[in-house]
Amino acid sequence: ETMKIGITQNNVGVDSYQTTYEKAFIEAADANADVETVVLDAGGDVARQIAQMEDLIQQEVDAIIIWPTNGEAVIPAVRKAHKAGIPVIVTNSNIAEQGFDFVKSFSGPDNITQGKRSAEIMCDKFKEMGIENEAQVVHITGQPGYTTAIERAKGFDDRLPEVCPNVTQIDKQPGDWNREKSQKVMEAFLVKYDDIDGVYSGDDNMGVGALNAAKAAGREGIIFVGATNFAVGYEAMERGEYWGSIYQSPVDDAKAALKTAVDVLNGEEIPFLNYFDTPKITQDNMAEFDKPVF
């Protein structure tokens, strides 16, 4: 008897992380002879995602994996699945606590910790440079309203004053997960502020956009730190232009989600929070990591 597993993803195609995730998920499912999958994409729209949950319930799949577009709005839909006796696994970014009762397990990165780690990377570098008492930082966040963007920003904003109390964050604007947009944002920052020592971006895609702006303006010596190490970010680190990031593999993310679902269906005991590790990566230790495939 094969296991029928349905997945509804957030927004495939919006960036290569999510696309690579989807590919990896399908590959992993194909590799497992016991698993058949229905792969859906909500295109970032909550209503569509809820409709997809309903469709999956209606199709009587054995388990549902959800990558929530909104960690709270999907709770009633998750409850519906729960009531229908279908186990739900949340992937990548968690749903709100009120929904925990209806969920078997969460599998994914810990975005708040990621934000914190980025703050630490930045602070350590400032200390190494001896500017931890005067440095000024600008912050480019992801698409406004997205859980991942909010959590990473929160982690960074909370942690930075703890580790480097004298570093000031002088401005913060969204870059919409978009390289071009963040390049524009950075251009304006550069006009506005003569002294910028560090840039934190919600992912490397945006970080590279900001880097391009700084290069075009001929401003040097700025420390760029990002998250979700993309191939472009990795390359920029190789060139010594980009300082550090958080290593997070969509392939691991996808495999972990599928494995969790399979384990649940096999009746195995699993922890409720299944964080996979997302380590710090900087120019110093990057040799330990493979270049990201996305």
Partner: protein, 333 residues
């Protein structure tokens, strides 16, 4: 024949034909390609379809009115989000603390009021400044979205009230709540457009504004009322949807304007105003929803879904034109 009856219904038959075609196709293809054992045309699945059509559908009905009137409203997605924020947030306001579950109707009323007010702002600007509705609402799409973010920053606004969720998930006489709201909206707005003086005047204004003015119809108030109507319906759509989901992201409702317009045009309403049918718009909405659902059912991937939906839209338009061609006697212009 009075306007809006059977013969016009049949004239705009292409969209219904397309729906039937889809049902047949997905049923057959589903047999081979779907993992599911249940049939695509299963009654429950069809009811679900109606329910899932509600959020865009209710807005599309309003959009039909606006477009018949010769305008367009690109701000509906933002109004949708802002009304939802007001509804969900107001349930937590201390003033209403003593109301218990009676806070629900109060929150609904506030949300609907928000929609009406936002619509009225658009309507007044269009009326008083004479700036084209496209610009006014394109601006408002940004401006209202800004208000959404102002309200609660980037955080989602949430309030899960299980009484409300249970109500929204319930079924009356076999139909889900949201489906009732959709059908009710269609019926009421159909009635307004075909049976009331306001509705008929709206058609006249969209058809030939100068003639309407010459005949002494006051164009401005009609614009205003229709913008209030679509604001109300965008809010109603939010009320229906967020009663069930309980949390709104500040980005919610983005692109709804484009999907609503697509549904309206698929239903045969002219972009230039003056003609259009509420019932056919319902057809347009269902056709789109069905397409998404069907493609999911047969397991199409993201690339294919985008590609197919785009090409199908064009194909439907093409078919519709072929069906409505008057043959060789048509003037070649």
């Amino acid at each position: 024949m009075e306007p809006g009856t059977l013969s016009t219904f049949l004239k705009r038959g292409a969209i219904w034909g397309f729906i039937v075609l889809q049902l047949v196709f997905f049923s057959i293809a589903g047999k081979y390609l779907s993992l599911s054992d249940t049939a695509f045309m299963d009654l429950d699945n069809m009811l679900l379809l109606l329910k899932q059509s509600a959020p865009i559908g209710i807005i599309a009905v309003g959009m039909t009115v606006i477009m018949i009137n010769g305008n367009i409203d690109l701000s509906v997605g933002a109004i949708f989000a802002l009304a939802a924020v007001v509804m969900l947030d107001s349930m937590t306001w201390p003033v209403f603390a003593g109301l218990g579950d009676w806070v629900i109707p109060v929150a609904w009323a506030l949300a609907l009021l928000t929609g009406i007010v936002l619509g009225a702002i658009n309507g007044l600007i269009v009326w008083k400044t004479g700036v084209d509705a496209f610009i006014v609402t394109l601006g408002a799409m940004l401006g209202y979205r800004g208000l959404v973010f102002m309200y609660n920053g980037e955080q989602p606004t949430s309030h899960l009230n299980w009484t409300l969720v249970d109500f929204a998930e319930a079924q009356f006489l076999g139909l889900p709540t949201a489906a009732w709201f959709l059908l009710g909206t269609v019926a009421v707005v159909w009635f307004i457009m075909n049976r009331t003086v306001h509705g008929r005047n709206a058609y006249a204004i969209g058809d030939n504004r100068e003639a309407a003015v010459n005949a002494g119809i006051r164009v401005g108030p009609h614009f205003l009322m229709n913008f209030m109507l679509i604001g109300f319906l965008a809010a109603l759509s939010a009320v229906v949807f967020y009663s069930e989901s309980g949390s709104v992201n500040p980005n919610d409702g983005q692109l709804y304007e484009l999907w609503a317009i697509t549904a309206v045009v698929l239903g045969g309403t002219k972009l230039t105003g003056g003609s259009g049918s509420i019932i056919s718009t319902l057809g347009g909405v269902i056709a789109i929803q069905l397409l998404r659902k069907g493609l999911g059912h047969i397991g199409a991937d993201t690339e294919t879904v985008n590609l197919v939906i785009g090409l199908i839209l064009i194909a439907v338009l093409f078919l519709d034109r072929q069906l409505n061609l008057k043959g060789k006697q048509e003037l070649r212009v």
